[in-house]
């Protein structure tokens, strides 16, 4: 189970005091703050005490700093520790960490959850920590019994000697804390693993079923006020004037304050402030987007594609490559909303020199910086409590709602919970960018792929997010071109160019980021080449990947499990795609029909190579999740503007997939020994081109624009 910080503190633990906590309270053992300096297995300054505590009552407390948004990261990381530690699974209790560099990436101390990176960046460090703790406990038992450590065994948190003596971790914890921490403990061989590789049930399942799991929207702190923000209907229009007199007399409304993004209504609870919206008379100035509609947006992108961008990759010479046959695709993909089930919210309390904040954030380090900047305090004095996230998909690493909450909190001087309505969430959002791409692929007379020349116009999400380390030294935003560069396909000549076209509509990471749109272009192009060469699409890809054994294995399983070469009914089309993203290769094959001109996906076969499959049950869940998320985007996902105002507002005009539209999905996970790749996002990139390719196989018509409108 995942326990809240408040529960944990009530039960008497003192946190941060050491590997085994100070003996000032019952049931706890002697402290020793173990700090590693220098590099070695753990990295500079790694503190055991921040992560692992073994209590006298038998609980193994793991403090984990990754945001749990449904991807199962807390359970996965717990499996890594427990596997080496060899405690019983039932001993594990997880505490969500407060913001601190201790919980940041091993290489830079930056605390953020995204890029399907949680488990794979902690893969080594967490297992080393578990192994070190196990060895310290074993040594303690060995010392206690006067035996050689090598003859002792450990299982389920109990250490046993051949003569029948036993001791539990709890018995040994206090003394173990005095042991020297092994510098670089050896790790188990794959066949010795206990929890890694098992489809263990998640540790947060029960709370989520009982409704006791605390999300950001559920946060309650004493003297807390609640606010909503009225934002201009035409994007980013500055405020001209407002009259709050009618609103202020409504029951439960305490204040109406202008902030940088609009007008905040502050009061006792959500309904009191939300129902007061219409009572505030507001005049806005002209929006910088006045008059902007989709035609204008599109023409801006077209103009951008005609300019010279930054070269992201150039191999060989595309101009000299054989152009016996040439395929051109000009494609357009829309702005997309994240539409997390839990609307944006955040709770902020600004004090004198410090602040305390609560909420569903993916980016604790950024939160500290945002709050500190606005409140004029030291970021290290911003305490960040992370709740469960009702979906993230990248949206919750943005700082817009944190900024607004902080501004309102400063104005009121009390703890302040900012809540978004669904309309706010849809319209005052940060979107997956709109893009236009022109892709040219050439073949020689024998059908060999000779060159790939792609130009994409899309804004830089890395710039917008403030995460500058994602931008290469040459100025190329990796997120803009991922899925087009460093391809495993054997292509002798490539030229990939990025035009940083920014219409200034706020954008941010959306599940799979650049890999949410670029593979749609590339995998559609590969299919076009296959058909041009009169080859089956899967066969054609095999040739292009002949030197890539992992990809070939994935294709083999895909062929077998999807019955790729079996005859399909006349009213069905079959299509596939294979994409590597976030360290994981996923191939998907789909079967699709057209019903009243609208695609219905009946079946998806999904094959995953993510190296070591830490939790196959969760990998399957994430593949389902990504496929459904991608299908929703393919069929109906689109955020559009008219006269500078966003058109969509709720789930009637931004319609995710519902249960009756769910295809039959089978997931096949390849066994592997390699360092795990991510699994939160990689299932998404292939689904869009797979469906596009299936529709082409069925109708002979190529989709060059998403979402699906019609096949003309």
């Amino acid at each position: 189970m995942v326990i809240s910080r408040r529960q944990f503190l009530r039960s008497g633990a003192v946190l941060g005091g050491g590997f085994f906590v100070a003996v000032t309270l019952p049931n706890l053992s002697i402290a020793q703050t173990i700090t590693r300096t220098g590099t070695g297995a753990f990295g500079a300054g790694f503190k055991f005490s921040a992560y692992l505590e073994i209590r006298r009552d038998g609980d193994v407390i793991l403090t984990i700093g990754k945001s749990e948004m449904g991807q199962g990261t807390l359970t996965g990381i717990a499996q890594l520790v427990a596997d080496e530690l060899a405690c019983a699974w039932s001993q594990i209790k997880i505490v969500q960490a407060k913001a601190a560099a201790d919980y940041g990436f091993p290489h830079n101390g930056f605390m953020i959850t995204g890029g399907s990176s949680g488990l794979r960046t902690e893969w080594l460090r967490m297992r080393k920590m578990g192994a070190a703790a196990r060895l310290m406990l074993l040594q303690t038992a060995a010392d206690k019994w006067g035996l050689d450590r090598a003859i002792l065994t450990v299982a389920d948190g109990i250490i046993s000697a051949p003569n029948g003596q036993q001791a539990s971790f709890a018995d040994l914890a206090e003394a173990a804390s005095k042991q020297v921490v092994p510098e670089d403990p050896p790790l188990k061989a794959p066949e010795q693993r206990i929890f890694i590789g098992k489809a263990i049930q998640r540790l947060d399942t029960e709370q989520k079923i009982l409704g006791t799991a605390e999300f950001g929207i559920d946060v309650q702190v004493p003297h807390m006020l609640t606010a909503i923000v009225i934002t201009p209907p035409h994007l980013l229009a500055p405020l001209k004037r407002f009259d709050a007199s009618e609103a202020l007399v409504r029951p439960g409304v305490r204040a109406v304050v202008p902030i940088s993004t609009g007008i905040a209504i502050v009061g006792d609870h959500y309904w009191a402030v939300h129902s007061a919206r219409d009572a505030v008379q507001i005049e806005w100035q002209d929006s910088p987007f006045t008059g902007m509609d989709m035609d204008q947006l599109r023409s801006g992108y077209r103009d951008a594609l005609a300019t010279t961008g930054k070269v992201a990759e150039a191999k060989g010479d595309v101009d000299l490559a054989s152009h016996a046959r040439s395929v051109v695709l000009e494609m357009e993909q829309p702005y997309l909303a994240h539409a997390c089930m839990e609307p944006m919210n955040f709770t902020v309390w600004v004090k004198d020199d410090s602040a305390e904040v609560w909420g569903p954030t993916q980016a604790q380090s950024l939160v500290q910086n945002t709050v500190a900047r606005i409140a004029g305090i030291d970021p290290n004095n911003v305490t960040v409590h992370t709740t469960f996230l009702g979906g993230g998909f990248g949206r919750r690493s943005a700082q817009d709602f944190v900024q607004s909450a902080t501004e309102i909190a400063l104005a009121t001087g009390q703890p302040l919970k900012l809540m978004y309505s669904r309309e706010d969430d849809m319209r005052a959002g940060r979107y997956r960018p709109f893009s236009q791409t022109r892709a040219v692929a050439t073949q020689d007379a024998d059908g060999n792929f000779t060159s790939l020349d792609v130009k994409i116009a899309v804004p830089s999400v890395s710039k917008w997010s403030g995460l500058k380390f994602l931008i290469r030294d040459d100025g190329v935003d990796e997120q803009a071109v991922e899925g087009l560069v460093d391809l495993a396909y054997e292509i002798p000549n490539t030229h990939i160019e990025w035009v940083d076209h920014d219409p200034k509509i706020p954008v941010h990471f959306w599940r799979a980021v650049g890999s949410s749109h670029n593979p749609f272009v590339l995998e559609s192009l590969i299919d076009e080449l296959a058909f041009a060469a009169a080859e089956d699409p899967l066969t054609y890809r095999r040739k292009l990947l002949s030197k890539q054994p992992r990809y070939l294995s994935v294709l083999n399983v895909l062929e077998h499990e999807s019955d790729w070469f079996e005859t399909l009914a006349d009213d069905k089309g079959r299509g596939m795609a294979i994409v590597k993203s976030f360290g994981t290769i996923v191939a998907e094959a789909v079967e699709v029909r057209l019903v009243d001109g609208v695609p219905v996906v009946d079946k998806v076969t999904c094959v995953v190579d993510c190296g070591v499959a830490v939790n196959p049950g969760q990998i399957e869940a994430q593949m389902h999740s990504s496929i459904v998320f991608g299908l929703s985007a393919f069929l109906r996902g689109e955020i559009t503007l008219s006269n500078g105002a966003i058109m969509q507002s709720n789930f009637h005009d931004y319609q995710p997939l519902r249960i009756h539209e769910m295809p039959q999905i089978s997931v096949h996970i390849l066994e592997g020994d390699e360092t795990p790749g991510g699994v939160g996002e990689p299932g998404l990139p292939p689904i869009l081109p797979a469906v596009g390719n299936a529709l082409y196989a069925l109708t002979g018509k190529r989709l060059t624009r998403l979402p699906f409108v019609s096949l003309v």
């Binding site: 409704g211 959500y270 459904v628 249960i659």
Partner: protein, 150 residues
């Protein structure tokens, strides 16, 4: 002041007539298990049982609910059907982010109360009002079948 029986306990509540039951439950009674997703009856996250029927509490005014019997996620797992649903949900590890799950469980329990052996088609019809952005629909359907079998 109006009375609501909530999870078996009779409560006197002072709230405006037009205040949605959802916010009465969350902010006056302090029961946070019932979730806000859309405020428009489109997503199902706010589903509770009112007088034995599944309703979207964001679309049900306090005036309409007053005098009635309300069961929320905090109370439903104490019922026999609710308990079977809970076990099935647990065994199949249904939730991902978990935010939509109380609403899903309330809808599922209401379905099973009137249909002891729902088909896939019955489930799709009854559960179509509950959105899951994490896409755990397959496990939801299998869990409903499993709860029905037990």
């Amino acid at each position: 002041m109006k009375t609501l029986t909530i999870n078996g306990s009779s409560q006197k509540i002072d709230a405006p007539d037009d205040m949605p039951l959802l916010w009465v439950i969350r902010d006056i009674l302090g029961l946070k298990g019932t979730k806000f997703g859309c405020g428009a009856g489109l997503c199902g996250a706010c589903t509770v049982h009112l007088n034995g029927t599944a309703v979207r509490s964001c679309q049900t005014s306090f005036a309409v609910a007053a005098g009635g019997v309300v069961v929320t996620i905090e109370g439903v797992t104490a019922t026999q059907t609710g308990s079977k649903v809970k076990s099935a949900w647990q065994e199949l590890d249904v939730p991902q982010c978990g935010y939509c799950q109380p609403g899903q469980i309330m809808s599922a329990t209401a379905l099973l109360a009137v249909n002891k052996a729902p088909t896939d088609s019955d489930i799709n019809t009854s559960m179509a009002g509950n959105i899951c952005r994490c896409g755990t629909y397959d496990r939801i359907r299998r869990a409903i079948h499993q709860a029905a079998e037990n």
